[in-house]
Amino acid sequence: MIIKTDFLESYLKDESNYLGKANSVYIPENEDELQEIISHCFNSDLHFTMRGAGTGLTAGSTPDKDVLISLEKLNKIKKIDTENERITIEPCVTLEQLDTYLKEYEYFYPPNPTESKSSLGGNVATNASGSRSFKYGPTRNFVTKLKVILPNGEVLKLERGKNIAKNGKLTFNTENNTQISIDVKNIFNTNVKNASGYYLTENMDAIDLFIGSEGTLGVFSEIELKILKRPQHIIGLIVWFNNFDKLYDFFSIINSKINKYSEVQPRIIEFYNTTSLNFLRATFPQIPETANYAIWIEEEYNKEDEDKLLENYFNIISEFSNIPDETWTAMSEEEHKKFATFRHSLPEKTTELVRQLGHTKLSIDVAVPMPLLKEYYLKVEEVFKGLEMPSCIYGHISSAHLHCDMFYSNAQEKVLADKIYSKVISIGLDLGGVVSAEHGIGKIKRQFFYQMYDEETINYMKSIKSTFDTKNLLGNNNLFY
């Protein structure tokens, strides 16, 4: 085990740049050492915070006092079971590492969060989602087993389908046969893409409580995931629009599973607004001049359906886009790689603003119920209109979840950005949305988390936490004040 009391500042920050505090950093080299250090913290009443890859955007892995446990060395792939389509890994295996490994077996792990350096442990703790979540759902849908070390060092083994709540109760048995019981109530909005607080519903599966718990209930020391066979053929399309209404009508059709073009069944639908495209134009002068909005689509298909599929897409695109002939298409692996460069360009360009030009990013992560998406977008666009500082609205339109980013560079702009931030969150909440659909609450969105839930609900969630974390030591200041 590596113990550091003199360590780099980077251990005190994630991608949100919020600076934390800690006295020591522990880096366990295996599961036994991890369990040992957790028990040590518990017995010595030390607060401890878990860190995966540190790519989080809400300071969840940023310690506020005492100890940071970095899982960086627990990064082994333990076993693959292709027959049952399962893979077992240590928590700090990264998405990139997993994908490279699975490629050899012609398999893939469907959730596709953009940050490929993030760890699966972090993904499970935040229930991360990505572009392919439209078809496959978020991380939650692919976690089949979790080994959890509770804050007191006891171990809980959870398997999907094995422990479902009954009559408002869930009972857990640890490996030492300690029984833990909790009352479950319906508080988690499952109709909206949601990463805001604990997953608690009356007929929930025990494993779901821990997925998305943001490092506050227990530590994942081993994860089993469901994997799928890599699809043989994928088509990618970038469709351009000059007008949001047309884009929205187009989106509504391809987003509904039953439509007159029912052979069209995308696995990804992503959105770019005008300012996002303007960021991209510098690198991609080929973007058509008259394009104000874009949608990126991906669909898996069989070779024999290719002609029909192309025709279907062409027909529907021609109906809504003003420049259907300009639709970019990727079919070969090389072309898909070029599309990937296109997509990754937006975060790269905005990171440049932050890293090289000293701007600070404020990122809104609200999702709303699908029927209210258009209303939400138009209101947000109105708020962002004429904004002097750089901004962009883009992302997972198929989950009614758009990222709205602002980049301020001085005190005056910060005041304005904060104001817009609150305003947009209120618009989202008024429409029945959630504060965070993907990045979680961590430390920096607690204010809005408390705006989203009433006091009783917050206290109920806190009581769940203290049932598992009796001394309130794990993930100090995540979710709750």
Partner: protein, 254 residues
């Protein structure tokens, strides 16, 4: 205008390659292939030229590839960005560039190209001689390292290509009369993305497979050796002292 583009299909950079037992050939089966990246710029330039003058863009492609379906996918996407038809000379494995050039000229002679584009270099073979040999066989002018291209039309039968070339000390501007061979380099353009409608159209564009007609080679590959990169590797342990050392190395050696 009759415009030809020479395209080579090569194993992708990450492909792990083996040498056959006789040490004479690179094993190409089951490898992912791509269009030689510099040839993509040539293709884009060919299409732009056609957009200016009208006419026909003919692709003439070659490869050691033995997977025809894979070759067709790649060349269909080249057709989709705007070429009109493609001839693919299959299995040119172990051919010298001179022999490839002879076969290309054989299949292009009826077409009577006004201009032949190709990439400045086949990055897989690290070879640049193909455009020069093709131009010699056709008795045409040839310019390499072209990074900018304009045209001036004196009259219907007299078109001048105004080319910028990269040279050691900077750039050189050269005028060359058509017909000619132009080998282009990166930076000449931003290749366009294939469009959906063009992919659909490309499905019915002529794609012809040909065997190499001329097979007597003047060159014979004696032996291929794979060079193992002798990089210096240092493992830095996770101690503060070693980290400081690493920081020092990064500061001084880079």
């Amino acid at each position: 205008m009759n415009i030809a583009v020479i395209i080579s299909l090569i194993p992708e950079a990450e492909a792990k390659l083996n040498i056959t037992n006789d040490n004479k050939r690179i094993e190409a089966s089951n490898k992912k292939f791509i269009i030689n990246p510099l040839d993509e710029f040539a293709l884009e330039e060919a299409i732009r030229t056609k957009e200016k003058f009208g006419g026909e863009v003919k692709i003439i492609a070659y490869s050691v590839i033995d997977d025809i379906a894979n070759a067709e996918v790649l060349l269909r996407s080249a057709l989709a960005v705007g070429a009109d038809n493609a001839i693919f000379i299959e299995n040119t494995e172990n051919f010298s560039q001179a022999l490839i050039a002879k076969n290309i000229c054989h299949y292009l002679s009826d077409f009577k190209p006004d201009i032949i584009f190709t990439g400045n270099k086949n990055i897989f073979y690290n070879s640049t001689e193909l455009p020069v040999i093709v131009s010699t066989l056709f008795e045409l002018n040839c310019l390499t390292e072209v990074i900018k291209l304009d045209f001036r039309q004196e009259n219907e039968n007299h078109i001048i290509a105004i080319c910028e070339r990269e040279i050691e000390i900077g750039k050189e501007k050269v005028e060359i009369k058509l017909p000619c061979v132009l080998a282009v380099n990166k930076g000449i353009n931003e290749p366009r993305y294939p469009k959906l409608v063009d992919i659909m159209r490309a499905k019915s564009k002529p794609f012809i497979m040909k065997k190499a007609e001329i097979v007597d080679d003047i060159l014979d590959v004696e032996k291929i050796d794979i060079v193992i990169n002798n990089r210096e590797n240092h493992v830095i342990n996770d101690t503060d002292e070693e980290i400081k050392k690493l920081a020092e190395i990064l500061k001084t050696k880079l």
